[in-house]
Amino acid sequence: MTSQPLTADLTRHAPPAGGFNLTLLRLEIRRLLRNRRTVLFTMVLPVFFFLLFGLNSAYANDRNPSGPGNVSAFVMINLALYGAVLATTSGGAMVAIERSVGWSRQLRITPLSPTAYIAIKMLTAMVLGLSSLTAVFVVGGITGKPQMPVWMWITSALAVWLGSLVFAAFGLFMGYLLPTENVMQILSFVLVIFAFAGGVFIPLQQYPHVVQEIAQYTPLYGLNQLVHAPLLETTPHLAWVANAIVWLGIFCAGAIWRFRKDTARV
């Protein structure tokens, strides 16, 4: 032991961007893909549903009421949306597990800022959402059933992906709200309800009038209409956009509220 090093080197700096970096993102994604249940639910399940409902020759080749595409393409977009929404919700809800095992607390004794942590979680959720919708679109392309112009494949995929951001926020909110490791079991049930109510699984016209009225205010209604707008060549209604934005606002506000509570230094 020397007597010299007793003056500490205090000329250090904090990392830029609150500690946000690509190594984190890479490790988070690898972690997600390691979880078989997540992969099964977010990729295999929507693909399976598409194979079940999107290829039925009774209607798959029928034309949609408007636009150049067929019904198979319509169903593919439905299930890509469902998959992407499941995926981003799972990604966001991972904070529940991280809180329950004490990892969030561990991270608070590192330079990682809470905002950078949320950014990582959102991005991871969005990457998972992208892989889910890509899986559905790729399998759709391979079967050759869905018919629509190439640019519609791209705009539809983009609409689904951007729209799934709403549910990354939903996942985060629920992840901070529900103190359980089994949060996804609750949430996948909630999402099925949202999907039925938003007309993702069954067209809303088949419901009684009262249900249709209520359905317009549920979180997947606006998104479901918007992601089909390119295919059906319809101009997005203001009500659809408002639905998506209001729900995004609610979920973000909820996530921020719970997050503040969680990271408050009491």
Binding site: M1, A8, A14, G19, L24, P111, R265
Partner: protein, 319 residues
């Protein structure tokens, strides 16, 4: 939180203290966990924060790490706010409550943490120091408690911190695990790192710390070297068989500090065992008399027990 002139920074008197606490109070509702703690720890000191469960050790450590804020008083680390000190990698800690992700491997967990610091120590080197380089590919969920604790230690070494805080780091480890853990810490602190560790193992405090800060009920009850702390509660215990003992009368004997009666056995803690023994043998029918000296264990009990005077008694030199 900007600390333009943190309390620990004293311009003109050299570098700021590693840890500086002034009049720190922490209340949880009506519970006073910490009741006015002053503490100043200089560079290169290895300090044991010793006290029974519920003494306020973890609460204090949380405040030093910026995980919670004091109800009153000031906390500074190297003259900075705790959060600033953490952001710059000056402080790291092995926490009791710090969790690990079960679905990451040991090496991934370390790489994840390393990526958060500017200029961290190499992951391989740190895993080797902590003695877990062989199990880098193992999932955390497959690791034993001791291996997880070593991983937490490895993570704490990554920023090459100037101050290392360990909150009961060897809880749940067997004797051999504890010994090799401390050997690793020792080897690592030889270059003058400041270490604060909380423990309720007296032998750990005695063996590894230069200085012991003893806390009880949210107050500092002793602060000094192990020898000084032992001396504070110096005295002996006289034990004898005595049926129908009169506790009040025994308590009045010159040199008796406390009297305990267990059936026919009386136990008297005293600073003058001769006087107590003489009284027992001359003035009572006591027999089987036994006189023992107190170890650190008894010092600990005497200083932290409910009967102890809760005033601050510092034995250390000028701190």
């Amino acid at each position: 939180m900007q600390a333009s002139q943190a309390p620990g920074a004293r311009p003109g008197s050299g570098p700021p203290e590693a840890i500086s606490l002034h009049g720190v109070h922490k209340n949880f509702g009506t519970v006073q966990a910490v009741r006015g703690l002053d503490l100043s720890i200089g560079h290169g000191e290895v300090v044991a924060f010793l006290g029974p469960n519920g003494a306020g050790k973890t609460t204090t450590i949380d405040m030093i790490l910026g995980l919670s804020q004091p109800t009153a008083g000031d906390v500074s680390v190297f003259g900075l706010s705790p959060r600033q000190a953490i952001s710059r990698g000056l402080v790291s800690a092995v926490l009791q409550t710090g969790g690990l992700l079960p679905d990451m491997t040991v090496a991934e967990t370390a790489r994840y943490t390393a990526s958060l610091f500017l200029g961290p120590r190499p992951v391989d080197e740190v895993l080797r120091r902590a003695g877990i380089d062989e199990i880098g590919d193992r999932l955390v969920s497959k690791c034993s408690g001791g291996e997880k604790q070593r991983l937490r230690f490895a993570m704490a070494l990554l920023p090459d911190p100037e101050l290392l805080i360990l909150d009961e780091p060897t809880t749940g480890m067997d004797v051999e695990g504890r010994r090799s853990f401390w050997a690793a810490i020792r080897e690592d602190t030889a270059r003058g790192r400041t270490v604060l560790f909380a423990t309720h193992y007296l032998e750990e405090a005695d063996a590894y710390a230069d200085r012991i800060v003893l806390v009880s009920h949210g107050l500092k009850v002793a602060d000094g070297t192990a020898a000084e702390v032992k001396a504070m509660a110096s005295g002996r215990t006289v034990r004898a068989t005595l049926a129908g003992a009169d506790a009040a009368a025994l308590g009045r004997v010159k040199g008796a500090d406390s009297v305990e009666i267990r059936g026919d056995t009386v136990i008297i803690h005293c600073n003058d065992s001769d006087s107590v023994a003489r009284y027992l043998l001359n003035d009572t029918p006591a027999r089987d008399l036994e006189i023992t000296t107190r170890g650190l264990e008894d010092a600990f009990l005497a200083l932290t027990g409910d009967g102890a005077d809760t005033g601050t008694a510092s034995t250390g030199g000028p701190r």
